[in-house]
Structures are given as structure tokens and as C-alpha cells.
């Protein structure tokens, strides 16, 4: 009797292990119908759970942010002084830019491509529990015009791109996901590269493959490059804020052709995001 039980137990275990490998194989063959179905059914439930649990989440966040706020206050004051100086300079540059555009009569430059996008606002309803996969689910999907690869932004900057879409929900691959890579440039020098994550560290990105002849310095802004060439185009419009260079040692720039970047968007505390739909489809 006992042996029979042990045999049955082992058989079920073996079946489950084989089942897991079959599921893995199916996923890597590109079959996602089942997941889409389950996700579509449960996305309204997740929306309700998200709203119901918001007060509890805010309470825990309050504790966490109180610890952080102490050190952040003095840093922000110093940044504010610097930002005021930059804002004055920026106003001047904007005025100059407008005049130059008129002169050049650019009616459809890549810098204006952002206007072709339509923003769809969505709430984050779920988040991946493991550090190895950095994705969130949002409550807008193909019914709202969202498509795979659409850029996703928050009030602070780029968040990621749409990885998969169902009727009423979609999954966003965040900048910190190991598979994420976005072409970007440093302003003002214009050094371009690819923004990649450092897995496990949501506060740091790497701007890789930069031109080592163009010097990049700390605190310079990094924006999307939004390239367009030979009928192909980036899904991201140019000029979307990505982050700020935090560390740019000359050794790293010359040897590894990379600098460290801190994302503007707070990728750990996302509530509302905007999907830029209807843009370039390559």
C-alpha cells in the first residue's frame, strides 16, 4: 500500500516536471494563446484588486519613502539650483530653435514625429515578482489601440515598451528588463548609443556602444535617439527623456564605450503610464 503511494507520488512529480518542460517548449515556439485567454479573463479582477489594495500599498510606500526622503532632500535642493540655471538657458534655446525651424521650413522632421502618436493612459495592475523579469501589466490593450512595441512613458520619462497585448490589458517590458535595449543620445554633445539595463538594479542603466571620440560628462541628459534609415525606424520618437548620466569615467568611455545612466522614471513605483500608440511601425 505504502509502495503504491510512493510510486503514485513519484509518477505525479515526474508528470509535473515533464509538464513544465512542455510548457516551456510551447512558449519558446511562440504559442501564447492560453496565457492571453487567462490574462483577458483575470484583468478585470486584477483591476479591482489593484484599486482595493491601493490604500494598503500607499501606507507601506509611506514608510519606505520616509526613510529615503531624509537623504534626498539635500540632494534635491542642490539639483533645483542647477535646474533653474538650465531652465533659463533652455528657454533661450527654444526660442532660437523655433526661429531656425522657420528658416529651414521643416514640416516633418524626426523631432516632430512625436505629434503622430496618440497617448493612451493606463494604470498598472500587476507587477512581476522576480528580479529577473522586469515587467508590469496595465489595464489598456488592443481595444484601446495599443499594439506590441508601442513606447510607454510616465510623467518623468520613458518606462519601456509594450511586450504583449490582449483586449483589455497589456504587458510592459520595463527599461530594467534584461531584454530591453533602446537607442539613445546624450544631449548636448550628441553621442549616441544603446540604453541597456543592469539586471537587479532599477536605479541604474548603461548607455553602451557610445562614440568614444565624443566626451560625455556626468549630469548630462539622455534622450531617445529615434533613428530613421532605409525604411526602418525606431519605435520611440526622438527626444523622449530617458535619464541622466551619473558616472562617465574617461577610462570606461574609451575602453568599454559605456557610461552609467540613472533613469528619470521611478520604475519601482509606477501607477499611471501613457502608451504612445499609432507611431512608427518600422
Amino acid at each position: 500500500m505504502y509502495r503504491k503511494q510512493v510510486r503514485r507520488r513519484r509518477a505525479v512529480l515526474a508528470l509535473l516536471i515533464v509538464g513544465s518542460f512542455v510548457l516551456l517548449t510551447l512558449t519558446y515556439q511562440g504559442s501564447r494563446g492560453l496565457q492571453s485567454g487567462v490574462s483577458t479573463i483575470f484583468s478585470p479582477v486584477q483591476s479591482v484588486a489593484d484599486r482595493a489594495l491601493k490604500p494598503a500599498r500607499d501606507l507601506v510606500d509611506w514608510f519606505d519613502k520616509t526613510f529615503d526622503a531624509r537623504g534626498e532632500n539635500s540632494r534635491l535642493k542642490a539639483e533645483l539650483v542647477k535646474a533653474r540655471e538650465q531652465a533659463v538657458g533652455g528657454q533661450e534655446a527654444l526660442h532660437e530653435n523655433a526661429q531656425m525651424r522657420k528658416l529651414l521650413a521643416l514640416d516633418r522632421s524626426p523631432a516632430l514625429a512625436y505629434s503622430a502618436y496618440k497617448e493612451v493612459t493606463g494604470s498598472v495592475i500587476a507587477r512581476s515578482p522576480t528580479v529577473w523579469r522586469s515587467s508590469v501589466s496595465i489595464d489598456v490593450g488592443s481595444d484601446d489601440g495599443v499594439q506590441v512595441d508601442d513606447p510607454v512613458v510616465s510623467g518623468d520619462g520613458v518606462v519601456g515598451r509594450i511586450a504583449s497585448v490582449q483586449g483589455g490589458s497589456s504587458q510592459v517590458m520595463l527599461l530594467t528588463d534584461h531584454a530591453s535595449a533602446i537607442s539613445a543620445k546624450v544631449v548636448p554633445p550628441g553621442a549616441t548609443g544603446v540604453v541597456k539595463p543592469e539586471v537587479g538594479n532599477p536605479e541604474e542603466l548603461i548607455l553602451d556602444f557610445i562614440d568614444s571620440t565624443k566626451r560625455v560628462h556626468g549630469e548630462q541628459a539622455v534622450v531617445t535617439a529615434g533613428w530613421r534609415a532605409q525604411g526602418l525606424a525606431s519605435h520611440f520618437p526622438p527626444g523622449l527623456p530617458l535619464g541622466e548620466v551619473t558616472r562617465a569615467p574617461i577610462v570606461d568611455q574609451e575602453a568599454k564605450e559605456q557610461v552609467d545612466v540613472r533613469p528619470y522614471a521611478d520604475l519601482r513605483n509606477l501607477d499611471l503610464v501613457q502608451v504612445l500608440t499609432g507611431g512608427s511601425r518600422g
Partner: protein, 182 residues
């Protein structure tokens, strides 16, 4: 554990609620920049009460459900959690749970093992970016959170599944005999 349709329904409800709570609450709050992961702890609690088979099936199902909801690669979470569930169940079948800290310690140890399992599977499939050493901090803190969440979770799950437990010790307070005239 005696598995009747009612008990199976209760286990399914616990699993469903656990997954929804994880994705909508625990994954989205942070303490010291790390979010708690209650799913390995939940699987451990179910396995400690139900045995290795229940643990493995619950781990597989919870993992499958998580991967479906997040539209991630199916099978990875199932594989890791079924291993955790089976190990916790084996512990329950081979050893007696004497100390009150045993479930919490098991939740902590097996959560760390689950995190290592996720890392191993992910590394097997390849990672296109450099990995930060903060991953280690993340794993350790997640297992510490599992220790603190494990004990209340175990009590809660045991309470819900009490009708199915075979050897549930009932602590009854003995009344002192009343001595008349004393």
C-alpha cells in the same frame, strides 16, 4: 490531509488569492528597495500541511497561474515552485514539526532556494545584459521577508484548512476543579 472537493476548492481559493495579492500588492510595495515574494512561502505552507504531492501540485499550479497572468515564459515559475513544494512536503513527511519557528525558517530557506532556482533557470536561458550584485541583496532580503511573513501565513492557511488536517492537536484548557467551601 484529507482532500475532499471542498478542501480542494479552499486550496484553489488560497492559491488564487495569494497570486492576486502578490501581483497587485506585494510586488508593488518595497521595503529597503526590495519587494517581498510570498508565493514560495505560500507553497511551503501548503506543502507543510498537505505533504509532498499537494506541495508539488500547488507549486506547479501557482507558477502556471502567475506566468499566465503576466504573459511570461510558461513553465519557469511552475518548475521552480513545484520543486519548492515537493521539498517542503518531504520535510513534513520525514520530520515532525516541533518548534514554532520551523515553518518560518523553512519559508525563509526555501524562498532563498526558489530565488536561486529562478536565477539558475534565467542564466540557463541567457541574459542579454550585465547582472548587478544587488541581485544578491534582493535574494537575501526576499528570504528575510519570507521569514516574517511565513509564520502568520502558515497560521492562516492552517486555520482555513483545519477541517482537512488529520493530526491537528487541540489544546484545551483544563479547568481547575472547584472545591466547594474553599
Amino acid at each position: 490531509m484529507i482532500l475532499t472537493p471542498k478542501i480542494v476548492a479552499r486550496i484553489a481559493a488560497i492559491a488564487l488569492l495569494g497570486v492576486l495579492l502578490q501581483l497587485s500588492f506585494f510586488s508593488r510595495v518595497e521595503l529597503f528597495h526590495v519587494s517581498p515574494d510570498v508565493l514560495p512561502a505560500l507553497v511551503v505552507c501548503l506543502a507543510l500541511l498537505g505533504g509532498s504531492l499537494t506541495g508539488a501540485v500547488c507549486g506547479f499550479s501557482i507558477g502556471f497561474f502567475v506566468d499566465c497572468l503576466l504573459v511570461e515564459a510558461l513553465g519557469i515559475t511552475s518548475l521552480v515552485l513545484l520543486g519548492i513544494g515537493y521539498l517542503a512536503g518531504l520535510f513534513r513527511e520525514r520530520f515532525e514539526i516541533h518548534g514554532t519557528l520551523v515553518p518560518a525558517l523553512l519559508c525563509m530557506g526555501l524562498t532563498l532556494l526558489a530565488e536561486l532556482g529562478f536565477a539558475a533557470v534565467q542564466l540557463l536561458f541567457g541574459i542579454d545584459a550585465p547582472v548587478s550584485t544587488l541581485v544578491i541583496r534582493d535574494m537575501v532580503l526576499k528570504s528575510v521577508y519570507a521569514f516574517f511573513l511565513g509564520w502568520p501565513l502558515y497560521l492562516l492557511v492552517r486555520r482555513v484548512l483545519r477541517p482537512a488536517l488529520v493530526e491537528e492537536p487541540r489544546v484545551r484548557r483544563r479547568r481547575q476543579p472547584t472545591v466547594l467551601g474553599a
